[in-house]
């Protein structure tokens, strides 16, 4: 698949996005557009600003400068929940779930948010069978169905990662942001998740942003790679080309590690 910039508004765009923490510029003037049907991998050394970039897009952090646009609409001033409702979806690098609610309830809450059913005060929650069924089918897809009544605090780390992915899928956003979805997942589980991401991309109307340190994963999934280094966007382009670039080889992979 080739990357083409379209004339219509991209699903997501950042313009000059910048954030400073005191003297430290964690994300520095990053402008980028993301089009539907494309999976963009974001790579860079630890502390490069990848997660911070996500935080700025999804609203967990307020930008010092620059804008975030979703389908051409400026969402920079909006709180995270409002951005989510406009179609930005986010999974977290450090697992971030409802620790005492069951896995199913975790997912159901995401489904419920998608269905915009949170404000019904006088209905009984389980009268919405459809929401529950949908949540169950998603747990099925991440292979957690048999653990649906276990709360995250009693799940192993790898299973928590899967649940984190399940929540993002349940939100059915226009823009999916995965932050190292496979970290800590055992080798035999990784393909399941990769398949899920692949499916999402395949549907064509979703935009996927993926932060990942596993280069084989990046290579096999991405249509495009952008590289962040010290908060600055230093490379953007075809995967093979970007991986071969000196900045990635040195700063990220470390010359000798580039085996395989």
């Amino acid at each position: 698949m080739t990357f083409t910039s379209t004339t219509t508004a991209p699903a997501l765009e950042t313009r000059g996005l910048t954030i400073r923490f005191g003297g430290h510029v964690a994300v520095n003037d990053v402008s980028c557009r993301f089009t539907p049907g494309t999976l963009t991998a974001i790579v860079g050394p630890n502390g490069a600003g990848k997660t911070t970039y996500f935080n700025l897009i999804s609203g967990q952090l307020k930008a010092s400068a620059g804008q975030v646009l979703v389908e051409g609409e400026d969402v920079t001033g909006l709180p995270p929940s409002a951005r989510t409702r406009r179609g930005l979806g986010r999974a977290f690098q450090l697992t971030n779930l409802f620790p005492q609610l069951t896995a199913l309830e975790n997912v159901r809450l995401a489904v419920q948010s998608r269905a915009d059913a949170g404000w019904s005060l006088f209905k009984v929650w389980n009268s919405r069978r459809d929401l529950i069924e949908k949540a169950e089918s998603i747990l099925e897809r991440v292979r957690l169905a048999d653990k649906r009544h276990i709360a995250p605090k009693a799940l192993s780390h790898g299973d928590q990662r899967k649940l984190e992915v399940a929540l993002l899928i349940a939100m059915e956003p226009k823009v999916f942001m995965f932050d190292e979805p496979t970290a800590g997942m055992s080798v035999d589980e990784v393909p399941t998740v990769l398949e899920l991401i692949h499916d999402i991309k395949q549907r064509g109307d979703s935009t996927v942003l993926l932060v990942e340190h596993k280069m084989d994963v990046v290579r096999s999934l991405s249509d495009r790679i952008i590289v962040l280094h010290n908060g600055t966007l230093v490379a953007d382009g075809e995967p093979a080309e970007v991986i071969a670039s000196p900045v990635v080889q040195e700063a990220y992979l470390g010359v000798e590690v580039a085996r395989d």
Binding site: F21, V43, G44, P45, N46, G47, A48, K50, T51, T52, Q93, L94, A154, L155, S156, H157, G158, D159, K162, D179, E180, A183, G184, M185, S186, V187, D188, E189, V190, H213, K214, M215, D216, A251, Y252, L253, G254, E256, V257, A258, R259, D260
Partner: protein, 241 residues
């Protein structure tokens, strides 16, 4: 053969009503690096926590350096010379990087050379020295967790998935660090999903499934035997870096 540094025999662990470990037996020879592998939910983390006394073994015995530590308290186990890097890293997010490391050096100020070495391995820590550790990036937190565990020499290090979230270049640093520690005579028990890192480092390997040990032996043996990899880990080494 000399007595292993750490020996688990028939360890069972319950967490509340759940029976997690079903008779875990293995030994860690002194001065070597032992890998603990297994799929998600196999019980690796539970094993480490049981050794540290964070969960109490309901039966069986854990011996460290010839002493029974099965029911010793966590601080006593740590004082016996065991360092621990938990899966969730256990960073004190309210404290600065400096304070995190100061606390890790329990017996006094950190040795200057050792600190230089550590900060050389993980330069990011130096940069954010006086910043609350909670502000670090995911990978930087992981580095801090390791730095904390190695701030002082320990007899045995228990490390739970140190490479998750690390960029390839940092994984390399980490491997270097473990090699150096091993050379300095420290013994390491490492839980790892990154099989590349595991195979590069391990002297021995222990594989768990469903709360039991399903394989233990030399790493070289496992690296050579693709069929065994397939059976134990569900994938062969080639498929991943």
């Amino acid at each position: 053969m000399t007595e292993p540094l750490l020996q688990l025999s028939g360890v069972h662990t319950h967490i509340g009503p759940y029976h997690i470990l079903h008779g875990v037996d293995f030994a860690i020879p002194s001065g070597q690096l032992t890998m603990l592998l297994g799929r998600n939910g196999a019980g690796k983390t539970t094993t480490l926590r049981t050794i540290m006394g964070l969960w109490q073994a309901s039966s069986g015995q854990i011996r460290f350096d010839g002493k029974d530590i099965t029911s010793a308290s966590t601080p006593d186990i740590a004082r016996a010379g065991i360092g621990y890097v938990p899966e969730a890293m256990g960073i004190f997010t309210d404290l600065t990087v400096r304070e995190n490391i100061v606390l890790a050096a329990r017996s006094g100020p950190v040795d200057k050379n050792r600190l230089d070495w550590i900060l050389g391995l993980f330069p990011a820590l130096k940069r954010f020295w006086n910043l609350p550790a909670g502000n670090l990036s995911g990978g930087q937190k992981q580095m801090l967790a390791i730095a904390r565990a190695i701030a002082e020499p320990r007899r045995l290090l228990l490390i739970d998935e140190p490479t998750k979230g690390l960029a390839p270049v940092m994984v390399r640093s980490m491997i270097e660090a473990f090699k150096a520690l091993k050379a300095a005579g420290e013994t390491i028990l490492l839980v790892e999903q990154n099989f590349y890192a595991a195979s590069a480092l391990g002297d021995n390997v222990v594989v768990m499934d469903d709360g039991r040990i399903v394989h233990s032996g030399a790493m070289s043996e496992l690296v050579a035997d693709k069929a065994l990899q397939q059976r134990l880990l569900g994938l062969s080494l080639d498929a991943h870096q």
